[in-house]
Every structure is written in structure tokens, then in C-alpha cells.
């Protein structure tokens, strides 16, 4: 009694002849439509639940417009859970709570412009634990070698079926050209003979905290699988993440936390449709896109487009760690995220006959984008006295946090 997954995915079929082409184009929204986006998933984790409100933004803009000053409530179990805005557009429940089975939950939002949005009532989906999470080094279907992170899950009751996965990867970053000295701005005035007296630098010891850091990144795609076509409610060897062998993320120690959400079939279909419309295209046949109706409506205006789907899901998580040597014994490290080219910018530059100003060296240090590497002993002719590299090459805090996260196990 539900739609089976359509396996027909025509991804970039640039078939037949080189004459056919798919090219990336500059696209600007000719007409921009503003609509409320409600990212609301209540889970069975006992925590302060989070709901994000934003508005659509034009294609050429970088990010969303958070929707502030709304009243957000989740009604369920004869209680009203009130949410406070802790960050613009980010609303957190005043008290921690977890979704209970067989209870109707409903989302109610009043925005600052006086509109009311109400969702359908939803109940918690069945709870299924992740069976296994494991890393395999392999060459994938696209011919790329790397680490595949697979998941196995199984619901013997057969009620889960609609899964979505998110991941949170954390890895150790070790800058390749760490030196023990840093060049910093010296506020003390320089010698009188110095044409740039305000551009003074001095050496300091570099903190060992900049040597090893931990960086965390989260998934940025909607990864769905349903087991409805399978003989049992079992997902085996489902790919949650693929990291290429030449990715600096796996250089030292890598950890991934995979979150499994069990969705209702309606929410699953909603997410599947919206991601399908933004996720693929084909040379020959194009899926008819359009506005997908969710389960949240604007009370005063039935025709208003509201984006997002309110769902109450069960969550299960699992984390694994691995070191580079385990899978790449005696192999060189993948290239660092930055090629760490040496540069020797000038400290002081002459603008005209009489005036001087600070050069790239001082400006780069001020802006905290370059760090000291060593003296310029002619490696870069006509350069300044010091060899510099981009900050992340010598200072890991450019990328992460020096403190290992609580879960970190060496």
C-alpha cells in the first residue's frame, strides 16, 4: 500500500556522441519565491529537541534566511512543549523530552507576521538499532578507490522499512609543516631607520595545541533507503559514506558516527521526492519537478507553499574508528588539504618615492591566514626574509579543535 522505489535513475547520461552535452550554467532565479521552510524532526532521544525555521533564498545567495521570532510548540501526550529561539532560526525545547510510542504529536508555529502553521499528527516510528557499521577499502562503481562506510540494520518486526542516514565524521588533523616558532605582530615601534615602523614582527613559541586537532563535519545530503522491496526488513551493506583514498580526512585517525532515522512512509516519500528533484537530471528524460506537498499547512492561506515535513522518528547511532595504517599499511599519506606552497611576502613595501606601507607578510599575519615556516635562504629569490605557508599547513586550529571530543578514543 505504498509506492515502491523507482529504480530508474537516469544520471547524466551523456550517451551516443560527444555532440550531446551537459554543461553547467550560471543560473539566476528570474522570479524568487519566498516560502517558509520547516525542518522539524522530533526523535526518541531524550534531549532538548531542535527545530529550524528558515525561508527560501535566491540561487545566487550563499545560504538560508533564518526565520526569527516565531512561536514554536509541539503538542503531544497532553502537553505543550514550548521551544525557545537560541540562535537565529534555531529553536530548542525548553525542557528535554523524548518522543514516546503511540502518542500523537503535532507541530504548531506562529510566525512574527501573524501566520499560523499546523502539521498533521504524527506518531513515533518503530525503534530499530543499527546492527553493524564497518569500513571497507574498495574500488567503487565509479572506479575510485577509497574507504566505504557500510551499515547493516535489521528490524525483525518488519515495521521500520524507511530509513534515512546522517553521518558526523571526526578526524585528526596534523599540519604537515609544523614548526615550533610563530611570527607575530610586534606592537612595539621599530627602529627609526625602518621605513615601516608600524609593521614590526617578532618570534614566539608556537603552541603545541596547533599540532594536532580534531575536525568534525556533517553530512550534507539526504541518504535514503527502504527495505520494502526486500524479503525482510533488513538493510545490508548500505553505503553511508565513501571517502576517497586521496582524501586528507583519513590521513591519521578517522571516526564516523552514523545516525539512523526510521521515518514514516509519507515523510520518506516527501524527502525522496524533494531530493530527487534536486538530485538528478538526464540528457533524454527529465523527471517532472514541482512543488511537493508536505504535512504542514498555513492555516489562514491554504494555497501557501510550506516546505518541510514534520516527522517523529526513532534514532539509532553507531560510531567506528580506524587508522590510516590499518587499511593503507606502509603507504604514503594522502595529499594534505593544502599543497602548502612556500611564499615569502615582503614585510614592507614602497608605494612611491616617499611613502611606505606594510607588505603581504604583515597583512597575512594580521588576518591570520599565513604562518611561519622558516628563514628564506634564497629559496624564493627577491622575496622577504621569512618563508611562510597557509595557516592550515602549520596551525591545525585553522581546521579543527585541539581538544579531542569526548567520544574520542585513540
Amino acid at each position: 500500500m505504498r509506492a515502491r522505489t523507482d529504480y530508474i535513475i537516469f544520471l547524466f547520461c551523456g550517451i551516443l556522441c560527444c555532440a550531446s552535452c551537459i554543461e553547467e550554467i550560471e543560473f539566476e532565479n528570474e522570479i524568487f519565491e519566498s516560502a517558509l521552510v520547516i525542518d522539524a524532526t522530533i526523535t526518541n532521544e531524550d534531549k532538548k529537541q531542535e527545530i529550524f525555521l528558515s525561508r527560501t533564498y535566491p540561487f545566487e545567495d550563499g545560504g538560508p534566511n533564518p526565520e526569527s521570532n516565531a512561536t514554536v510548540n509541539v503538542i503531544g501526550n497532553a502537553k505543550v512543549y514550548e521551544f525557545n529561539e537560541v540562535d537565529t532560526g534555531s529553536y530548542v525545547s525548553q525542557i528535554p523530552f523524548k518522543a514516546e510510542p503511540n502518542v500523537d504529536y503535532q507541530l504548531q508555529i506562529n510566525t512574527s507576521d501573524g501566520r499560523t502553521y499546523i502539521s498533521n499528527a504524527k506518531q513515533l516510528t518503530s525503534i530499530t538499532q543499527i546492527n553493524d557499521l564497518y569500513a571497507v577499502r574498495e574500488t567503487n562503481d565509479d572506479g575510485a578507490n577509497g574507504m566505504s562506510i557500510y551499515i547493516d540494520t535489521f528490524d525483525p518486526t518488519g515495521n521500520s522499512k524507511f530509513y534515512r542516514y546522517e553521518y558526523e565524521e571526526t578526524f585528526r588533523v596534523e599540519p604537515p609543516v609544523f614548526v615550533s616558532q610563530d611570527l607575530v605582530i610586534d606592537t612595539a615601534p621599530g627602529e627609526l631607520a625602518d621605513p615601516c615602523p608600524d609593521c614590526q614582527l617578532k618570534f614566539e613559541f608556537r603552541s603545541q595545541d596547533k599540532r594536532i586537532c580534531y575536525r568534525t563535519e556533517t553530512s550534507k545530503n539526504i541518504n535514503l533507503i527502504n527495505s520494502a522491496d526486500f524479503t525482510e526488513d533488513r538493510v545490508t551493506r548500505f553505503l553511508t559514506r565513501f571517502v576517497r583514498s586521496d582524501d586528507y580526512r583519513i590521513s591519521h585517525r578517522y571516526s564516523i558516527l552514523v545516525k539512523q532515522f526510521v521515518h514514516s512512509s509519507e515523510a520518506y516519500n516527501y524527502l525522496e521526492a524533494v531530493s530527487r528533484f534536486s538530485g538528478e537530471g538526464s540528457l533524454f528524460s527529465q523527471v517532472q519537478p514541482g512543488f511537493v506537498t508536505g504535512n504542514i499547512v498555513a492555516q489562514n492561506n491554504i494555497g501557501e507553499k510550506v516546505l518541510g515535513y514534520f516527522d517523529v522518528t526513532s534514532v539509532s547511532t553507531k560510531r567506528i574508528f580506524f587508522n590510516y595504517e590499518e587499511f593503507y599499511p606502509n603507504q604514503p599519506l594522502p595529499p594534505y588539504i593544502n599543497s602548502c606552497e612556500l611564499k615569502a611576502p615582503l614585510r614592507c613595501v614602497q608605494e612611491n618615492n616617499t611613502s611606505f606601507r606594510c607588505g603581504g607578510l604583515v597583512n597575512g599575519i594580521r588576518r591570520n591566514i599565513i604562518v611561519y615556516r622558516g628563514p628564506n635562504n634564497g629559496q624564493i629569490p627577491l622575496g622577504g626574509a621569512h618563508l611562510m605557508v597557509d595557516r592550515e599547513c602549520g596551525d591545525c586550529t585553522a581546521l579543527g579543535d585541539p581538544e579531542p571530543p569526548d567520544f574520542w578514543i585513540e
Binding site: R2, R4, I8, A19, T56, F284, G290, V292
Partner: protein, 924 residues
């Protein structure tokens, strides 16, 4: 005497060559040249081809100098002492004949010779003058040597000035009587016509009389009768073989104006060979799409939209059998072999009552009959495909078989490409046609056609898609009597597709879909009188659909086998139509078709609560139906009326009113046709779609039917057109009715066409202004698209201009071009981005709110025919085409892909650069 010969010849020649008004003039100097040499010089100096037999030419040498002499004068001089006549035809050829003359037209008043009104000639001298030529045996003459016969014994005392000659004419070949032969006496007002038994009686003046017989059947005979007394003369006549110039029977030249049917177009496949080709393939459908009212969503979009109709509303018939997907390779090639096709008639306005089951059009394609006289064939080699057709008689002059096969080597091309992505993909297709035709006797003939086409392609290394069409058609035509004929037709066709997924995980599967239909049709014709032409009959077809099945592939696959239950239905119709000529000006084609549809069990049908969207929550009951139980019936009368009123012989107005019902629908969630679209039968929840079309037109032929001009307008309204909730998954959906929306459609347009089908320049120019809209309204947001307002359909292209032109440089070389301009098709594009679950996604505009840029394209081709020698093994034909000469990067679609959490916009185009192609065709 010679003077007379010349005089006569000139008389003849001048009357003949006047057929050619603009004979060329030329200047030349001949010195002691043989006749053949001179003829070849003439051929060189003019573009005229000379046809003659060398043995006929005399050894005489010619000398002379001519300045701007007309070709006919020169030929007259050249041939004056020979037995040869010449004929200059309109198409720049000169034919030399020995003795006989090529007539421009059939002689008039041949049999009236005996009643000639000329009265003045009676003297002996004039008689001598009139016929001197016949005394000289060496002169060029159309008659045999004259025999002299003396009749009766001369009686000097006889007072009679006239004597009676009686006799009998017989057919010298078989000895039978030769009736209705005119016998005239040269130069005298005397004549007779032979009776049924060949007998005749003539009153002749005493002395010499030249008797001449005139008949189309027999050779002309002259007898010199020297009559002295009453007597008898019997003689035999040889059957005549008169060399006539080809008689062009131009049926339908004024069809444009005179036909009562409006909106019908016929494409003769032979005539499209010069049109520029894409990748060397001659394509009936592509040519059809250059005509007003027929369009495609874009290059590489399979399916045709006729007058704003959906692609599933066209009935494509090959020898009366339905072809569900007549496209190869996403529509870049058509699946109809041009070499085996005779012609295609496309009905886009008034659909004759004998056709039914689709709303927008009928493409009635006929396979050509196999050659029953001799073995023949045709072959072509192009850059992507090869095609071979062979025909051979089975029973001489009665039965023959034709086999045509076409295949691609695109797989080989793909494997040799540099680009990694393309090398992994594969694509192949082929199609085969077999036809057998047998003329049993004068009253019965049978025809059988078999057809199979198959496509297979893979875009990623782990999946293989394939689809095939299969068709068998049997036809028995019987003539009952002069007025009654009938055809019994049995067809069976099938369309299926399969997807094989073979990846690295344990979810490998095989998925399949099949639709089969079997039809029996009896089509009768009663040509009641000159004013009536009745067609009537009935047809019944059984559909069997296997809507989808999926099964695991390989032993470790965890896919559960699932087969959606088979759907069956019976669609029947009775029809009658009459082409009724009310008077000389008004003709009506009135038809009525009554169609009846029954969805049959076994089946489980979901019944939903009324007035709310269908969903699992509103499911009321599941109704069970046993095998062959009638689940639901639909029936409707379909009116097909068309009329023509002739304002004058070259100008007419026509109008039509048509209603159509369609009981079968395609399910497609794509903006254009995809090979994995499936067909769904109407059932309890899905109603048949229906259409009503009004059309009017004015038709004018100009310059003796050389130019055809037409302007047609139409308005069409469609009900219960099928569409889907946004984001629906249609394949293998067990509750499809929950996803289906049924809405309204409307389209209207004006089509202008100017066509010149003959002459060195030929081709057509068409312009269409048309609109096509869809409306999907409901009380519930999820069932509404664009707020329930009318929105442009995916194929709404208001302006559509096309030009197709051929220019014959010489008999062997010709040049063709075609140009197309169309408004860009509507697309749905993002109007904003949003973030959900940390993923950047796009919000789309109302459906089809924007358009891709306008489409235009110019193609050219150059055709070289092989030489025209009579003795050669085969006739060859080269075609060199350049598709999209202007290199216009016509966008086909715009789409958006989320990559690394970021949305990127892409534009795709199919042929963005000029595509040169060369193909070689051979006919033997």
C-alpha cells in the same frame, strides 16, 4: 519526291516539338562528323540527355555551321534523311525513335475520319499530291509498304462510275474478326466502319483508291485498290504497339482541395529521400514533424504531439497493428524502416470512423508490397546503422515476400570513444520487418506482416534497459462484387521493457513490464452509388497488461519477488461512415463509431471514500473480481463528421467535428517520453479520456495544382487527461490510483502550409501558431497543480515554422535544406533554494512557468544519384548531410543537481554542434 518527305516530316515534327515550348538554342560547327558524334555534341552543349540506339544511326557524315539554332531545328536537319523521329520531353530528354512517332497525346477524333467534312479533294492530282510519300520505299514512313490490289475485271462499257467493295477484316494474330475499324479512302470523303464480324462495304469510284485503316488496336494499313468492278477484299490486321509517352496519371493532385477529410496528410516515403538526415537515417516521423500540427518536445524526445495532444494519444499503426513505442534510442531514430514503408497517412483533424482508441491522431503506416515480378533489394550504409531490404517473388506475378532488417553499430562507436563515461555505456537496436502478399485470384488477396524491434542500452555499468515491440498482422481482402469489398484483419502486438540491475550490492534485480493486444477487425466497403461510399465494420481488441514484476537477480539478492496482478480489458467498436456527395460542390464524410470498453477480472479493485483524496486512509473496501468478471464498463458514441464545400475547382472550405475516446493511458513522471513509461488500462478508479475537436480550413491549389495552399484552424478540448501528483513513483506502484490526477486539457491553433510537390524546386513551408494547456484542479492541495489554473503543457510551443526545400541541379545532383524554428518548450525551474536536513534543495516554480530559449536549426544535404546507364547492376545514391549547420546549442532541458550539498544548474542539449553524415544507398 524528297521535298515532300521533308515537308511531311517537318509537319510532324513541328506539331510534336511544340510540346516543348522552350527548347534551347545552341551554336555549333560540325565538320564531317558522324551522327552519333553530333548527338553527343548536342548533349554536351545542352543539358538534354539523348536516348537512342546506335545501330539506328546512319553512317552519313555531316558538316555545317549553325548559329543559335533551335534544338528541334537542328535535329530536324540532322535526321531528315534517316528513318528516325525525335521527341523532346519536358524533363530535358530527347528520345530518338525509328519509324514510329511518340505522340504527345492520344489522337482525337480518330474514328470520325470517315465522316470527315472535307469536301474539296477529288482530283487525281490532288490524290497524288496527298500521298506521294508512300510510293517511295526508302522514305521514313509510319506505314508498311503499300500493296496494290486490282479488283474486278475492267469493263470498258460499264456505265457505273462507282463500284461496291465488300470484305472482312480479321485480326492477323488470332484470325478473329476486327470490328469497329475505320476504313477511309485517302483524299476522298468515303469511309466505313467494320461491323461486329469485321465486315464492311465501301462504294469506291473507279480507278485507284488508297484504303487506310485507322484503329488504336491495330497497325495502320494502306492498300492501293484499283477497282474496275464490284468485288471482295478481305485482309488481316496486325496488332499495333503504339509507343506512347509515359502517361502520368496524377491521382489526388487536387486531393488538397477536393477531399472531404480535413487534417489528413500523406507522406510518400520515396519522396523524402532527399531530406537532410540525422546520422544517415531517413525517418518518416521526423518528416511528419516538419508539417504543421505535429511536433516533438525536442531532439531526442521520443513521442509526437499532435495538435497539442499528449504523446500517448497517437495511434501508430503498421499494417493495422499497433506499435506502442515506434522509437529507437530515445527517439533519435524511428523504429519504422523507411525502405519497407510505402506511405504514411496522418489523421490529425477528422479521424475516419474506422479508427479509434486514441484522442489526437492516427499514423497509418503501410508496408510496401513485395515485388512479385523479380528479385530486388535496397541497402544503405550510414554512420550509425545499416539497412537491407530484399524482395523476391514466391509465385511469379502473384505472391512475394519482403524482408527488411536494420541494425546499429553504435555499441562499437561508443566503445571506441575517448570519454570514460561514454565508453561504459552501451546502446544497440535493431528492427526486422517481414511481409508476404499473395494475390489469390481477382477477388481475393492476403497479406501478412511481421515486425519486431528491440533496443538495449545502459547508462551506468550496473544497469541494462531493454525494450521491444512485436507485431503480427494478417489481412484478407475480398471483393464480393463491383460494389462490395471487405477486409478481415487480425493483429497482435506487444510492447515490453526490462531493467536488469547488476551492481555491487545485494539488491540486484530484474524488472519487467508487458502489454499485449490482440485485435480482430472487419472492415467493409459498399460503394453504393456515385454519390455514396459506405465504410462499416466492427473491431474488438483484448488487452493484457502485466503492469510490472520485480525479482531478485543472483543468489545473494535480497529483493522480494513482486508481480502486480495482470490487467485485462476488452475494447470493441462498431462503426459506419459514408462519403456522401450531396452535389458537385458539397461532400460530407459522416461517420459514427460506437465504442464499448469493459475492464475484466480477475482483479482486486480498491474502493475509496467519495470526495476526499484517495489514500490508504480513505480506502473503504477492496472489491474482488473473478476471472473474466466485468469490473467496469464505459461506452460512448464517437461522432466523426467532416465536410467540404467547393467554391471553385481550386478552392474549397472544409470543416469537421470529431469526438474520440481513449481507454488506455501512459504513466509517465517524466516531462518527455521515456522507454520505461507504462500503459495503464482504465478501471474503476481511472476513467477513459475523451476529446472533442472542431476544425475549419480553407484549401487552395494554384497554377494547375502545382502549389497547394492551406490554412486550418482547430480547437480541441480534452477531458480526464491523466497526470500525477508531483513526485509520484509510478513503476511497480500497487496503489497507482492514489497517485493519479485526471484533469482537463485544451488546445487551439492555426496551421498554414504552402507546398510545391513537383518541379526542380519542391518542398514546403509551414507555420503553426498553437497553444496547449492542462488544468489539474481539486479541493485538496495535494491534488492541485498550479492552483488549479490552466498551465501550458510540456509541449506547448506557440510558434513553429519549418521549411523543407529540394532543388534538383541536374538529374543526378540535388540539394536539400530544412530549417526549423520553434518557441522554446516550457520548463519548471527553481525559484528558490532551501535547506532541509543540512541539505541544500530547490523550490520549483509553478509547473511550466518558464521556457527554454527558442529552438532553431538548419540542416542541409547534398544527394548524388548514381549514373543512369540502363545496364548496371544497381542504382546507387549518396547522401551527404550536415545536421545543425549553424551549430546552435539548442537547450533541451535545464536541471539541477545537488553536489556536495550545493545545488548546481545544468543545461543539456542533444546535438550542439554540426553533425556531418554520409550514407550510401543501393537499389537493385
Amino acid at each position: 519526291m524528297k521535298k515532300f518527305v521533308l515537308l511531311l516530316l517537318l509537319l510532324f515534327t513541328s506539331s510534336i516539338t511544340f510540346a516543348q515550348e522552350n527548347v534551347p538554342t545552341l551554336s555549333l560547327t560540325i565538320e564531317n562528323a558522324g551522327m552519333e558524334e553530333v548527338l553527343l555534341i548536342i548533349e554536351q552543349k545542352t543539358s538534354y540527355k539523348m536516348y537512342f540506339v546506335s545501330q539506328w544511326l546512319s553512317n552519313e557524315k555531316f558538316s555545317g555551321s549553325y548559329e543559335n539554332i533551335r534544338l528541334d531545328e537542328l535535329l530536324s536537319i540532322l535526321l531528315k534523311d534517316s528513318l528516325l523521329n525525335y521527341y523532346i520531353s519536358d524533363d530535358a530528354t530527347v528520345v530518338l525513335t525509328q519509324n514510329s512517332i511518340i505522340y504527345e497525346s492520344l489522337p482525337d477524333g480518330f474514328f470520325d475520319a470517315g465522316n470527315s467534312n472535307s469536301t474539296s479533294i477529288s482530283s487525281q492530282e490532288e490524290e497524288e499530291i496527298a500521298a506521294p510519300v508512300f510510293f517511295n520505299e526508302t522514305t521514313a514512313s509510319e506505314v508498311k509498304k503499300i500493296e496494290t490490289i486490282r479488283i474486278g475485271r475492267e469493263d470498258r462499257n460499264a456505265a457505273k462510275k462507282r463500284f461496291t467493295l465488300t470484305g472482312k477484316l480479321t485480326n492477323a494474330t488470332n484470325g478473329g474478326p476486327a470490328p469497329n475499324i475505320a476504313i477511309t479512302v485517302k483524299g476522298k470523303d468515303i469511309g466505313a466502319i467494320t461491323a461486329e464480324d469485321g465486315s464492311y462495304t465501301l462504294e469506291l469510284p473507279a480507278g485507284i483508291n488508297i484504303l487506310e485503316t485507322n484503329s488504336l488496336e491495330f497497325e495502320k494499313i494502306q492498300k492501293r485498290v484499283v477497282i474496275y468492278n464490284d468485288g471482295v477484299l478481305d485482309f488481316g490486321l496486325d496488332e499495333a504497339y503504339v509507343g506512347l509517352r509515359e502517361v502520368l496519371i496524377q491521382a489526388n493532385v487536387d486531393r488538397n482541395v477536393k477531399d472531404a477529410n480535413i487534417g489528413a496528410t500523406k507522406i510518400d516515403v520515396k519522396e523524402i529521400k532527399n531530406i537532410p538526415l540525422v546520422l544517415g537515417e531517413r525517418d518518416i516521423f521526423k518528416v511528419a514533424a516538419t508539417l504543421p500540427g505535429i511536433s516533438t518536445a525536442g531532439e531526442g524526445a521520443s513521442g509526437y504531439n499532435v495538435r497539442g495532444g499528449k504523446t500517448d494519444q497517437n495511434l501508430v499503426l503498421l499494417d493495422d497493428g499497433v506499435i506502442y513505442n515506434p522509437a529507437h534510442f530515445f527517439g533519435i531514430f524511428s523504429a519504422i524502416n523507411p525502405f519497407t514503408s510505402n506511405d504514411v497517412t496522418i489523421y490529425k483533424g477528422n479521424v475516419p470512423a474506422k479508427f479509434g482508441g486514441r484522442l489526437s491522431s492516427v499514423f497509418d503506416i503501410k508496408t510496401k508490397d513485395a515485388n512479385v515480378e523479380k528479385f530486388s533489394g535496397e541497402a544503405s550504409i550510414g554512420p550509425v546503422t545499416s539497412n537491407l531490404v530484399l524482395e523476391t517473388p514466391v509465385v511469379k506475378d502473384k505472391a512475394g515476400v519482403l524482408v527488411g532488417a536494420r541494425s546499429t553499430y553504435s555499441d562499437w562507436i561508443l566503445r571506441n570513444l575517448d570519454e570514460e563515461e561514454l565508453r561504459k555505456s552501451s546502446a544497440s537496436f535493431y528492427d526486422v520487418v517481414v511481409k508476404y502478399n499473395h494475390e489469390l485470384d481477382g477477388k481475393n488477396n492476403i497479406k501478412a506482416t511481421g515486425y519486431y524491434s528491440k533496443d538495449a542500452f545502459s547508462i551506468t555499468s550496473d544497469s541494462l534497459y531493454s525494450y521491444s515491440n512485436r507485431l503480427v498482422a494478417l489481412q484478407w481482402n475480398h471483393t464480393f462484387n463491383d460494389k462490395n469489398t471487405g477486409s478481415l484483419i487480425l493483429t497482435n502486438s506487444q510492447y515490453k521493457f526490462d531493467i536488469d540491475f547488476d551492481g555491487q550490492t545485494n539488491t540486484n534485480f530484474e524488472l519487467g513490464y508487458t502489454i499485449t493486444e490482440t485485435e480482430a477487425k472487419l472492415d467493409m466497403n459498399y460503394a453504393g452509388s456515385e454519390r455514396h461510399d459506405f465504410h462499416y465494420g466492427f473491431a474488438s481488441k483484448l488487452y493484457k497488461v502485466e503492469p510490472g514484476s520485480i525479482g531478485p537477480k543472483g543468489s545473494n539478492s535480497i529483493i522480494t519477488p513482486l508481480t502486480l496482478p495482470e490487467e485485462r480489458a476488452l475494447e470493441s467498436a462498431v462503426y459506419i461512415s459514408d462519403i456522401f456527395q450531396l452535389n458537385d460542390r458539397l461532400t460530407l464524410e459522416a461517420g459514427l463509431r460506437f465504442s464499448f470498453y469493459a475492464a475484466l477480472g480477475a482483479s482486486e479493485q480498491n474502493i475509496y471514500a467519495d470526495g476526499v483524496p484517495r489514500s490508504d486512509g480513505t480506502l473503504v473496501e477492496v472489491r474482488e473480481f473473478g476471472q473474466n468478471d466485468v469490473i467496469e464498463t464505459y461506452s460512448a458514441p464517437e461522432v466523426r463528421v467532416s465536410g467540404r464545400y467547393l467554391l471553385n475547382p481550386s478552392l474549397s472550405v472544409k470543416g469537421s467535428f470529431n469526438t474520440n475516446y481513449q481507454y488506455i493511458h501512459t504513466l509517465s513522471s517524466n516531462t518527455t517520453v521515456s522507454p520505461t513509461d507504462t500503459w495503464k488500462l482504465s478501471d474503476i478508479n481511472i476513467k477513459p479520456q475523451s476529446a472533442t475537436q472542431f476544425s475549419m480550413g480553407i484549401f487552395k491549389n494554384l497554377k494547375d495544382n502545382l502549389y497547394e495552399l492551406s490554412l486550418e484552424g482547430y480547437y480541441k478540448k480534452v477531458d480526464d487527461i491523466l497526470d500525477y501528483k508531483v513526485g509520484s513513483q509510478l513503476l511497480l506502484n500497487e496503489t497507482l490510483e492514489q497517485e493519479v490526477l485526471q484533469g482537463e486539457g485544451k488546445s487551439y491553433g492555426a496551421e498554414l502550409l504552402l507546398r510545391k510537390s513537383k518541379g526542380r524546386w519542391n518542398g514546403w513551408v509551414g507555420y503553426t501558431y498553437s497553444r496547449s494547456f492542462v488544468k489539474l484542479d481539486s479541493n485538496f492541495a495535494e491534488e492541485r497543480v498550479n492552483n488549479g489554473e490552466f498551465f501550458p503543457s510540456n509541449y506547448d510551443k506557440p510558434h513553429d515554422f519549418s521549411f523543407v526545400g529540394n532543388f534538383k541541379l541536374t538529374k543526378r545532383y540535388s540539394f536539400s535544406a530544412n530549417f526549423v524554428y520553434q518557441t522554446g518548450r516550457p520548463v519548471t525551474v527553481p525559484v528558490g533554494n532551501f535547506i532541509l536536513n543540512d541539505t541544500e534543495l530547490v523550490l520549483f516554480s509553478d509547473r511550466n512557468e518558464f521556457r527554454v530559449p527558442d529552438y532553431y536549426r538548419l540542416d542541409i544535404s547534398f544527394n548524388i544519384e548514381g549514373n543512369h546507364k540502363t545496364k548496371k547492376l544497381a542504382h546507387s545514391f549518396w547522401n551527404i548531410s550536415i545536421y545543425n549547420v549553424l551549430g546552435r546549442n539548442n537547450p533541451y532541458s535545464v536541471f539541477f543537481v545537488t553536489e556536495g550539498g550545493e545545488v548546481k544548474a545544468f543545461q543539456s542539449s542533444i546535438f550542439s554542434i554540426p553533425i556531418p553524415t554520409i550514407s550510401y544507398n543501393l537499389k537493385f
